[in-house]
Subunit: 258 residues, 4 copies
Amino acid sequence: MGSLQALIQDLVIANRILAREDVVDAYGHVSVRNPDNPHRFLIARSLAPELVGPDDIVELDLDGEPVRDDGHKLYLERFIHAAIFAARPDVMAVVHAHAEDTLPFGIAEATKLRPVIHSGSFIGANVPVWDIADKFGDTNLLVTNMDQGRDLAKCLADNNVALMRGHGFASAGRSLIEVVRMSVYLPRNARALLHAKQLGGEIKYLRQGEIDARNRGYSPYSTETWRAWEYWANKAGCSHMLTKPDAHGHDHKHDHKK
Amino acid sequence: MGSLQALIQDLVIANRILAREDVVDAYGHVSVRNPDNPHRFLIARSLAPELVGPDDIVELDLDGEPVRDDGHKLYLERFIHAAIFAARPDVMAVVHAHAEDTLPFGIAEATKLRPVIHSGSFIGANVPVWDIADKFGDTNLLVTNMDQGRDLAKCLADNNVALMRGHGFASAGRSLIEVVRMSVYLPRNARALLHAKQLGGEIKYLRQGEIDARNRGYSPYSTETWRAWEYWANKAGCSHMLTKPDAHGHDHKHDHKK
Amino acid sequence: MGSLQALIQDLVIANRILAREDVVDAYGHVSVRNPDNPHRFLIARSLAPELVGPDDIVELDLDGEPVRDDGHKLYLERFIHAAIFAARPDVMAVVHAHAEDTLPFGIAEATKLRPVIHSGSFIGANVPVWDIADKFGDTNLLVTNMDQGRDLAKCLADNNVALMRGHGFASAGRSLIEVVRMSVYLPRNARALLHAKQLGGEIKYLRQGEIDARNRGYSPYSTETWRAWEYWANKAGCSHMLTKPDAHGHDHKHDHKK
Amino acid sequence: MGSLQALIQDLVIANRILAREDVVDAYGHVSVRNPDNPHRFLIARSLAPELVGPDDIVELDLDGEPVRDDGHKLYLERFIHAAIFAARPDVMAVVHAHAEDTLPFGIAEATKLRPVIHSGSFIGANVPVWDIADKFGDTNLLVTNMDQGRDLAKCLADNNVALMRGHGFASAGRSLIEVVRMSVYLPRNARALLHAKQLGGEIKYLRQGEIDARNRGYSPYSTETWRAWEYWANKAGCSHMLTKPDAHGHDHKHDHKK
């Protein structure tokens, strides 16, 4: 299997995992940068992630326009992905979703979402909240053009996650596996913090040094990382699509460079 | 397939989706106005929505009485549907359900349910709470006659959703797909607001202009709307019953008229 | 099928429903009075309710002792059932369970569990909390003899449900279907009240007149009651065991006597 | 089947149960001391517990090193198990996991996790919170060497459970069945306490005498204990792996000695 085919397979798995783990429902999407052409990325056509197969993957450029016109309807919010890939050369994969337990932190202004559990460390110490109304006034809240996408990417800056007020979040990772993992544990971290707040008293957030230590130790194809990917793929009913890391030519090399 | 047959099929799908998404359990029901005769509507006989098939659909008039007497037991609360269809010519479909997470907002008087997330915008800016006791005193809380149904419809007025104190809600939409979607996201919006309240501080509700913008952009057979319908039908195990929008003669035309 | 065989079948269904609806897990049990001999009742041998079949049903007397010694291990807490059947000739079926969301109301003394939703009305206006420690001091919290059972039954008095502090609840109904329904909606009512409290402000409980009106209208084999039983049996994978109400000789007559 | 084979089978069941009951996900592990050599214990190679089979079980010594080098990748945090087995000769089985609802009690310092429900009694009256940062400063929060393991074991002391701040918990039992049961009911006890706190007012914790009474009555192969093991194994799809208690030579004798 060529490395691009392996990557498309992984993107399908990512779609299914995010659906099975309740990060996305009919809405929400995940994309990966084309390792052979950093000015392009792969994403599904307009379809619920649970139903995505290899033939549903399309290639878009960094303006969110399709590279080939094959008549597919596209996600209205593909500009989130295009703008983040354009602004952040280090980012290889992006998720946008409406995971329910992240929503309260975009709505209640007083409480900032921060890592409190080790599996939540990858969201990073700072999770900005982007409010589309600040710049664009009354909209349907969707990011439907590059201007809005760029404004969101600017708010994200060099963080890993931005909450979107009344809407959801965008997360950016160094690999598909990383961004999926971050997106699965983000709502869990949110719930842990919400419930800790309800218990009252002082909250022990992860320390900056702990976040840094975890980040330094992260490797997208380590045994530990693969363990979760394999587990989630199995739960999502697509373990038969798993390709061993060494099948990932480009991606694999990239992952071990840091 | 005739357009009425397609509509009955859709009504069966709507029943199954609402069951699968925990909006209804053994109780709760969904109805659709007969596009060929606006003085009649289709609804299941007295049966748990999960178990409803095409042969279980009956036709009632706007007094809640069956058009044909085929000996079926009917839902006690069919008057909710009859009264709303009578009062609201713009409404094509109605749901009544007891979705758990909507209940607290009918019980706790201090907090008003309002849209806080984009998928909740369709419930509208104003969600009145109807208390059957206000006019009818001590009842079994069920809407079992036209008088009670009309009082509920009056409280609903031209809103999309009315909460029913200690009981559930009634929602009204321009199509089956719209009312199902509204009913699925209503409890999610309720949970997001409940949890945001627990985080404390000021709540950022959707702005009126945002609610209006989303409403203006809504089309019951757009790619985005269809995506959710297809996804939910698949989860509910009845994707084989899906009929493409262009099979919907009447309904389809109606949907695009506005 | 004889009426006792039909009742045993129903008792198996009740076990499976309570397991499927998370009212019981490995622990918890349901019993039904022998309609041919009111001094005896039917209950499973010591086995997780989900795994109970017709051959696992044993017959006990009102001291909790087996009528026939067939060597089966029995539930340690069978005395809950024996004592309630002995004290309450009107009761035909009993559930004891640890349903998670009822527990907080036995632990937090300040808030009384009361009906707030129509499906919760059958728990009755007054839900006493029994604390085994009040009379028996330091125990393992289990009701393991008739003395303890009788003390619980005394606390229950003529109510339908008693919470057991740090342990669970006992519920008593006029039929198997009624006690199962009450036990399924009890945790739902508890959650609705907990969440309403979190929203703050005044709580609108069901009015006494509403509870009475619902109770007066209840019939264990009405279309509405059967609808839920059929739905839950189907979810629990045992709809093939359902016997139509008219197969229930004794039980049926009893149910319509009131 | 030899007693070691039966124990390995039980360890596989334990892995599957903990996965099915949401105590572990891709991460978390369970181990059992080798009854024939108390200086060694059995645990899976680095693999998600849900996917563990008999061939994935490896044997480690009390420094966390493999007895045989068969090239398997090992859990990074195996030192938790090694250190607890080394410090506590009475402990026969250990679980480490990140069960979500235990996390808030490690993060919010004000509220101590204590038993409030009878099934939670086995966590013991005192549940210390271990903060890796107290001694080791900024780490990735994982217990990756014996020093850290020993510090955790020291904090656990002769208790049954230690919470690990921002990370999870470690629990220690007298048998596999006991430690699994404790780990399943620990999050339930945590939720019951969290929700009771939300109801407000004074909390009725289990009394010390009650915890003691329950502990005295515990027997790992009683009918009641087996009932839960059988139920959970069935839910986890591995009831075919169950071996009756009398197949457990060593383990069985040990269990009844106390």
